[in-house]
Amino acid sequence: MATSINVTKDNELARELNTISLFVISAALLVAFYYQLALFSLPCPLCLLQRVGLILIGCGFLFNVRFGIKSAHYGIALIGCVVTGSISARQMFLHILPGDPGYGSPFLGLHFYTWALLSSIIAVVAIAVMMMLSKERPTTEETISLPLLGKISMVLFSLMIVANLISTVLECGVGQCADNPTFYLLLGH
């Protein structure tokens, strides 16, 4: 039993870093959501898929926070990075030609798809550092005690997914989204 406690303690730093990463992913989703609501900037299908990509990355961090540190969970987050990067690169190439105003409102001088590509590259580096700082040991469910901050990060992440689910249903109904959406389908404006 004493060993189990040590195992949890050993990876405290890695767990904290994963919790922080989960907060960062939720914050990124929150910023995108704020722009959608405040500036009435409706997300296109590729924009929504980039949010899904961020959620795929977040799931890797979430698994580490909830189930304990595993290299498989980092692998999950890395695959999420590749998916997010690919989708955002595709959208960036669509608007890369000179004179193209880009899609949507820029944030700190860059469009959201460019930020998504940069974020996925930064996430790869962050995951690499976290993997270096993590110690993978055999753990059991019982050894995982969830700190309050970890619980808050999980709830916040869930809330962001619920918010995106509701807004997507309002925007696109239960079908396909328009390529350049200008109004919420279910709200009629």
Partner: protein, 52 residues
């Protein structure tokens, strides 16, 4: 395509993680990945007029 579906599956993944259902969480994440890639392929139809 049903754009709400990835978010619905993501919600299922997170909820199953929170209640501690490890295997179900992994399976749902995998389904989410496959659907995301499939939706991406569906929406990336225009030929890019760029040289690589």
């Amino acid at each position: 395509m049903y754009m709400f579906l990835p978010f619905l599956i993501a919600l299922g993944t997170v909820l199953s993680t929170i209640v501690g259902k490890k295997k179900l969480s992994y399976i749902l994440w995998l389904i989410l990945l496959v659907i995301s890639l499939f939706w991406f392929k569906h929406h990336a139809t225009d030929q890019l007029n760029l040289s690589f």
